[in-house]
Amino acid sequence: MMRAFTVQVGPVGFRVGSAWSGPIRALDWLYADYPKPADGIPDFTVRLEPVSALRRWVRPSVAIRGDFMLPDAVPTSLAHGLLAAEMAMNLQVAMGERRFLLLHASSVERDGKVLLMTGESGSGKSTLSALLGEKGWRFMGDEFALIEPETGLAFPFPRPVSLKNEAVAEMLRHVAAERLGPEMVGTPKGDIRHLKPPTEAIRRMGESGKPALLLFPRFGLARDVRPVPPSEVFVRLTQASTNYTMLGERGFEALTNLVQRIPACAIDYPDTETALALVDELWAELT
């Protein structure tokens, strides 16, 4: 017996089935402003199932299943059901997408030009994209940037932003608390709250932009800016892409084109104010 939820995010439609109503209610709230899959057919199916019949009721434990699965995926507690759904949806895209080159990067757009930010978990790329999305940029996504190989354009995938640990307090300085979802404490990734993107970002989630600048942010270090040579950018982006090898020659061409066309910088920053100032500076230098 499955409770169902569907949603369209950018070019991808999802169907989530859950053995429990909790995660579905949370998804309904978080994605209230999003449209449903256009012709009623989702791209990917995700299932949240009890690991065994007993664990539906006793200390409920959520197994993450779906079209694409990791054999060694660790079950989560029902309290973290929303996170499980989000992870499962990301996994479908990461493993299943073949049309776009997928970069593990956040992205924001201004005047039709796109700023891409990529880095390890904790680099601040998520928080930066969410902040920029409140300050005159169009938020395009905090998790994946979708590059269309044939055109080189970046397409939005504006999921709710997953804010971790101290990023929650930081974000609350800039946005109304009503836009933040329930706090999930002690997840494998720390304490997490989801942020609803601006409605503008959702309304325009079909609009692509031209990549113009790539940043490798690192949080927690003294202010520093270093240009990154194309060869290094290439290697780092192959690692940041979940489907680069699956795309074969198309992936190689998409990535080499991107790397040769746009400048890239590594930026270190001790706080968000410094980061935002750096972004403004580097963006102004482009034109």
């Binding site: 089935g17 012709d39 791209d43 299932r47 299943r65 049309r99 074969g248």
Partner: protein
């Protein structure tokens, strides 16, 4: 959607897709993905008018199958180069064979491992040559390793350290412990040379191998895809005169007529395959259980019919091993905390 019938129904006749409503599309695509038949479905529906999202899903699957095809054929070529110095031709089995021979069964099909057949007395040479060429043992314990070597019809799986692809080196097409004993020398003796250092089994043996792989080599996981392979081969090979007679004779020679007969009936029942009535009429008890097991998947992609699945899991061991050996095997696996069902 109660079971996977909707997928079989459209695979058998793609024009039926025009009648599907959105929720049926969703169920069919999900089931196809779970049964590893989405690339196949994409090929069957190519050129037909389908809803936009379905077209997007099918396009992904088509691209995935194309990548898979290229990798599988490259892997076959790598094996050919590794075994060439031994004077061993690479006799391809299953998916890679269908692709290399350009058969209908290969269209859109995903291929996991590379399966090849090598004469029993050359297994040690083949193993050494593959190890020298960069394949290495998948880490496993002594029991599993000894089990493979003493009782199975293949070497323990090898994986290539750079390309991360698996090769299964078989010396026959059924475990040595199984009750049926196909004629391995005839399999190799009648192989068909593809002219590029690669070869496949002859058409009748290809069908028989697919049949044994379906019934006698596991618990019918992925069975719908394996049955689809059989449907495609039967339709393609039946175009040549005398195929059904040759298939009957060959089945008798390998002493597996019962299995072949059942596969024909199930393929006819599920995929509407035209089959030879005489060959398909060799005992038919239990077909309903097989049909139920093969279609045991709902519109969410979930496994259904848990009890039937478990029964087939037990059966897969029962037909593979004599009772005492089975008891010892299950006890060892249980002590190691092996999960009986995926």
């Amino acid at each position: 959607m109660r079971d996977a019938r909707i997928l079989a129904w459209v695979l058998a006749d793609p024009s039926r897709a025009a009648q599907l409503r959105p929720h049926q599309w969703t169920a069919m695509l999900t089931i196809a993905q779970a049964e590893r038949l989405l690339g196949t479905l994409a090929h069957r529906l190519a050129g037909l008018d389908v809803p936009e999202t379905a077209a997007r899903v099918l396009d992904r699957a088509r691209r995935a199958a194309e990548t898979d095809r290229r990798q599988a054929l490259w892997e076959a070529e790598m094996a050919r180069q590794a075994l060439a110095p031994l004077g061993l031709p690479v006799l391809l089995l299953k998916g890679t064979a269908y692709l290399a021979a350009g058969m209908d069964a290969g269209r859109g099909r995903l291929v996991g491992d590379l399966d090849i057949l090598v004469p029993h007395d050359r297994m040690d040479d083949a193993e050494a040559a593959l190890l020298a060429a960069g394949w290495e043992w998948v880490k496993q314990d002594d029991y599993d390793d000894a089990y493979y070597r003493d009782h199975m019809h293949e070497l323990p799986p090898l994986i290539h350290k750079a390309r991360d692809r698996m090769i299964d080196v078989h010396h026959t097409i059924l475990p040595l412990t199984a009750r049926a004993r196909p004629d391995a020398a005839a399999l190799i003796g009648d192989a068909v040379d593809l002219g590029n250092g690669l070869s496949t089994l002859c058409p009748e043996d290809m069908v028989i191998h697919a049949v044994l792989h379906l019934f006698a080599d596991g618990d019918l996981s992925g069975g719908l895809r394996n049955l689809w392979d059989i449907d495609r081969m039967l339709r393609e090979f039946a175009e040549s005169d005398g195929f059904w007679d040759r298939l009957l004779a060959r089945s008798r020679h390998h002493k597996v007529t019962r299995y072949v007969s059942r596969a024909l009936r199930l393929s006819h029942h599920i995929f509407e395959t035209p089959v030879d009535p005489y060959l398909a009429w060799q005992g038919r008890r239990g077909d309903l259980f097989y049909t139920g097991r093969l279609l045991a998947r709902n519109g969410w992609g979930q496994d259904t019919a848990k009890l039937l699945r478990f029964a087939f899991y037990l059966r897969s061991h029962w037909i593979r091993m004599p009772p005492l050996m089975l008891a010892r095997h299950l006890f060892t696996k249980w002590r190691k905390g092996h999960q009986p069902i995926r």
